[in-house]
Symmetry: C3
Subunit: 351 residues, 3 copies
């Protein structure tokens, strides 16, 4: 498939920017986006920080996006007010969306008669749709997806290849689930009875609200009773584990390989770093920030920034990290003090 | 599918409890289970700890399960001796098992002629069964499962959607493997030879004993030679990594995202927290408890409880965590001592 | 399928070893490989370290592989110069490769007309090959694999069951991707705009160079722009997360559940332990070694060995671990010093 290409002027228009340069430059053709140090004459680049200004002059990019201040009169600048948004606009322009299955149901898909599928939905090859499932308008069900009994899939939602959704889960509108994600498997709950580990049946479900995105091979377990819930607009990276009955608020961001134990509650706008983990039943306040690899063992107040295992405020953790790194000096100081005290004692005894 | 519903009396009977309340309450209809603070008039709730006793009075649940002591004469109590078991009984009552494929072989499944499949086994759509595989009575092979050559699947075992089992692995009876689990891929073993990383062929297998449950997207690698083994009744959560030649005893519990390197040995009844990891070749004694996120670098004795990276006993680790958190005071004390010693020295010299 | 069996003489020949023993022993039949303590009369074993020499005498193995020194005149020794290579040779001999699909295209595979598939390639049941994809000679596409639009798969590459490759990614020759691996999903990049998390389209791809192996259920995200790249001969274990635009050099080894954030760069020959993580944009020099569970927050120089969170050199980290473990003694010492200084002060004041 042909790479998209645009003129610099078209790019400037797409990102609501103002091109500052001559007509020839405005008509140059670009075929992609590259960082300042990687740019070629047929790519767009951008500057986001004054520390990269020194690379601006020799950068061969067809045009460079940035604020008026950062561009500092560059002869091929595209002046914008919000560089993040401008770059996003340009990337959208170049994006080739993943090829969806054709509208309708692929003949190799196995769809129960009682499933209700909107005419504009697309069901890919080898997909499975169980009894009572409903799939709304413009949903895209890629190849090999498995949709359980009585599951509902919202409008415009995209399920990539091999996603598995267990029975009765509800997936909102415009949700994106990447390949291999598993939604609604039983939570992990056992207790000892008669010398075996007896399983708690998990009669709850999973509710994924609108505009959520979940990365490849991530797992969201169903509730023991009542739903596990992922709040509107929350974004979850790859290989993340969400335990049974977790409640995640809107607009949270969870990085790769993070793990939430059963019944954890996240407020709104919480940010969680990669490989961080939270023990069962903990509550994290709105807009809290959890550093990568942290281990959370206590509730976290709204707005707090925490780090470490067991986690504490980043400020305290960083202070302690520094103090530990200087410990060898403290040991030396104490040894030296001990020597001096011994001397003082000797001289005192002598007197 | 209709939600199950029962009377309070039926629930009390199901969990071998004694309902203490009037006839009207005994006939009330319940449609689910909820925690004390979430309960509604049509749900069953329970009390497991005296600290929740204060919520008992205002809880609108149709009935509340608990010990005689904890219920303290509640007008709609279901008195039981083992609340965990009672709740499990009630959840079992409400459970709607995942819809299995119909008995027999789905026409879209691809099954080798030499595979031996019990008449009561169920093979879902798009499943693959390779040459020489055997599938025992009442096994449930969900959609898209892939079963390798000469694999054996025990009676009553359930493989959820998209599970992959490589050649020659043996899965016991009543095993549950959740969606996306991969059993029997090559272990991770390479060495440098002629400036490349040469792979050790992994000629071993995986043996999963009876009554094991493994969570979604978890991975159990095959042995380099000889089997990787998961002991009877052991329960493994989601996204867990079990390396080649690991030997796990019976009745262990491994939480989400835990990782066991090659040739690790776990005794019986070991409990391992989420995101904990064990380096190659380590032996963990029976009933040892490993805290979440711990990093195990040495053998652990039976019954020990360990924590931290590198892990030590929880008692020692917790003591050290506290001592590190007070370090800033120790630094201050040493500085103050230094000042006082200097003063003593000055005054001694002066004399 | 029958277990392979060989005579001891054949095994010695296979691993370029010299059998030291009588003719009867040379003709003994072996059916497998086992560690010294597990060996039986029909298995080959080996000795790799002098500390196991004490088990040599009573080991019933048909023959034991080792260096002349380690075997120390054992009556059934196979003398070799490189035991690792010899064991690899023997394991290769016993290996039964996973059953590939038959050559050609399985009738249940769904293959776009515009895909180009070499006549010797094998495409398994329920595989998907999208428009414009190319699959080279002797590639093995196992069951249920999904290959996106314009993807290229190199010669001799093996994709195990349920692997998913998103559009436009390029997979080299002799690559092995284990079951459930997902290559080329969107990177994880969002920013706040108008009170929602807006997604950066990821217009880049993934390039996996020749001879790479990636473990089950691992994830490699596509670049935001430009490729994410895995260098030639690099080996990646299970459940590993590789973020967008990561650049991994040749011959790196990444253990299970490791995680690399966006735009991380690894040089050549880097070794990374299990569950270790690297924050975005970090550069790791050639041959650096990162211990398991480390958290890397700063660039690492070539050849450095680092550990801990935040990571520092293993030497410094180990020193600090020891100093922390002795902290209770330091606290005691300081308390004792304080007492003695107080006494000195009292006696000085007294004078």
């Amino acid at each position: 498939m042909a790479t998209p290409q645009f003129t610099v002027a078209q790019i400037a228009h797409a990102c609501a920017g103002r091109f500052v340069g001559d007509a020839k430059s405005a008509n140059a053709v670009v075929t992609g986006v590259a960082a300042l140090h990687d740019a070629r004459p047929d790519t767009i680049s951008w500057i986001a920080d004054v520390k990269h200004a020194k690379h601006l002059a020799e950068c061969p990019a067809a045009a460079i996006i940035g604020t008026e201040t950062l561009l500092a009169g560059h002869p091929r600048g595209i002046v914008v007010t919000n560089p993040d948004a401008a770059i996003a606009d340009v990337l959208d322009k170049f994006e080739i969306p993943a090829e969806p299955p054709p509208p309708g149901k692929h003949p190799t898909a196995v769809i129960h008669d009682s499933a209700s599928i909107a005419p504009t939905a697309r069901i890919g090859a080898h997909a499975i749709v169980h009894a009572g499932a409903t799939i709304a308008e413009n949903a895209v069900i890629h190849e090999g997806v498995s949709i359980g009994r009585d599951v509902s899939i919202g409008a415009g939602t995209v399920l990539y290849d091999r996603v598995v959704i267990y029975d009765r889960c509800r997936i909102g509108d415009r949700v994106i689930l990447h390949a291999g994600a598993v939604i609604g498997a039983d939570g992990f709950g056992f207790f000892f009875q008669n010398n075996r580990l007896r399983k708690f049946s998990h009669i709850g479900t999973v509710i994924i609200e609108n505009d959520v995105e979940i990365g490849p091979n991530s797992v969201v377990d169903r509730g023991k009773f009542g739903p596990t819930r992922i709040g509107q607009g929350t974004k979850i990276d790859a290989l993340v584990m969400i335990g049974h009955n977790v409640q995640i608020g809107p607009l949270c961001v969870l990085a790769g390989q993070a793990g939430l134990s059963g019944s954890v509650k996240l407020g709104a706008g919480v940010a969680m770093g990669g490989q961080a983990g939270i023990v069962p039943g903990i509550t994290i306040g709105d807009r809290a920030r959890i550093a990568a690899q942290s281990g959370i063992t206590k509730d976290v107040a709204a707005g707090d920034a925490i780090q470490g295992t067991p986690a504490q405020t980043i400020k305290t953790e960083m202070r302690n990290v520094v103090l530990v790194r200087k410990l060898h000096k403290l040991y030396d100081e104490v040894a030296e003090l001990t020597r001096r005290v011994k001397e003082l004692e000797a001289s005192a005894n002598h007197r």
